[in-house]
Amino acid sequence: MALMTGAEYIESLRKLNTQVYMFGQKIENWVDHPIIRPSINCVAITYDLAHDAEHADLMTATSNLTGNKINRFSHLHQSTDDLRKKVKMQRLLGQKTASCFQRCVGMDAFNSVFSTTYECDKAHGTNYHENFKKYLTYVQDNDLVVDGAMTDPKGDRGLAQGAQADPDLFVHIVEKREDGIVVRGAKAHQTGSINSHEHLIMPTQAVSEDDKQYAVAFAVPSDAEGLFMVYGRQSCDTRKLEKDADVDLGNKKFGGQEALVVFDDVFVPNDRVFMCEEYDFAGMLVERFAGYHRQSYGGCKVGVGDVVIGAAALAADYNGAQKASHIKDKLIEMTHLNETLYCCGIACSAEGYPTEAGNYQIDLLLANVCKQNVTRFPYEIVRLAEDIAGGLMVTMPSQADFRSELKVPTKSDMSLGEWTTKFFKGVAGVSTENRMRILRFLENICLGASAVGYRTESMHGAGSPQAQRIMIARQGNIAAKKELAKVIAGIVD
């Protein structure tokens, strides 16, 4: 099958029988739901840009499995060049959507499951790698979106999987049958899960022998029997339900999406099982996925940062403050922080290496440094953006006030729209509406619905800061650094 267009992708979602709940209700037509649709538009652009001559070089790749042209999101990285192009593609998509475009988790899962199953088969004589190659060929041939699902609800963080009061707080095997397995549990915070054709499930953390039923990896269609999703609400989300919602949304077309995905005894046939109690490989799979995903943030959040910097610069232009030296300096600082994140994404890609299975893995230390910076710099970037934007970003009246024809009974006999438009005018030549639009965009990204993707996802997505610090400590080799210091200082033990 040829690469789908965005419109074809949206139509393909309608064919699925995905079970979606939101605000306490079952949502039948979730594809056209005003709260969900912006996140679907975001995924759709990953399809459209693959057909765009100005972007196809990043958006597509040649499959090592079939030799066919595929969307890069379903590609197994064949070189450090592929790793770099992944980051570049993510930056591009961040620029185009100013949101989370949701397809990275699947790509990161493909690459980590591919290499881990190879090594697991070698150790255990299993057949997971062939299973996975067959599955990925199906995904590539049909140009599908796959949710890479790792994070379990986890209950009491101080307890291991099997010690939880409720055994379902981590996804686990409840039955092993001749023809497959039955799984139960849930995955939380799942990016783009509702918009995905398929789910690829991985363990959330290392597993001990006692808890081996939690060492499980598999793939199921999003509308598998026993599977349902509960949409995660976002700050200011009901603005999308308002009549003629436009300016107040800040980003009308695009948005992110996270959901709780519940598995209530879901059957998985044998050829879609990629790990079944091989607990000694759970940690490897988690570490590899986390590594790729920490690299991803050095691309996607940089692209969003590009738009934030542009918006802050426009806000200054529209205020007439653009020539002030501190404004120029703040824009330089924002650019410096943003490009530093990009440097990290490119560096951990350039230093990548081939796995035993042949696909390329990122440099783990540099990827963790990348993500650690991502837990900080976007916060400083939005702080500077809020500084440049001014207080109006959070105090201006609504779109309905600006457009209101309601006469205010005072001497001037002007409408509410005329009053608000008059008092919120900035420089000559820029309409009040355009000034409001850029401020609403900044509000949305700094503390509205898009802050989920730009701020809190930067903090916790691909692991909370401490998770990276543990990896940095493990990879940092302080002992060797001590030796360096001893030699220079002339210390002989």
Binding site: A53, H55, L58, T62, R84
Partner: protein, 105 residues
């Protein structure tokens, strides 16, 4: 002469890549003003987007920065002109003119 045009993916272009292509095409408007020309004609530089598996006399690769990461593995061509940061237009035009005129001789 058939010129296959390829853009890099455009993650962080330092200039307007399609604007630069337009400027190059303007120079050869007399040869043909149809960008989608997909064949070769001696003495004329005919441009079109490169297609996978396509065979070209010249590949014109327009990249947004000097890293010039666009891949050209999927095409066959005699000569390649790769444009990095802007400022190269006169030399690109000179080269394409030279190749076209050499071919015509």
């Amino acid at each position: 002469m058939r010129v296959g045009v390829k853009f890099c993916g455009g993650c962080n272009p330092r200039y307007d890549r399609s604007g630069e292509l337009d400027k190059i095409l303007d120079h050869f408007a007399k040869d043909s003003d149809d960008f989608a020309k997909d064949h070769s004609e001696t003495g004329k530089a005919l441009f079109g987007f490169a297609k996978d598996g396509g065979v070209y006399d010249v590949m014109l690769v327009i990249c947004g920065c000097n890293n010039q990461c666009a891949s050209t593995d999927e095409y066959t061509f005699d000569k390649k002109i790769s444009v990095g940061e802007t400022g190269n237009i006169p030399s690109v035009v000179r080269l394409i003119t030279q190749y076209r005129d050499e071919e015509a001789q």
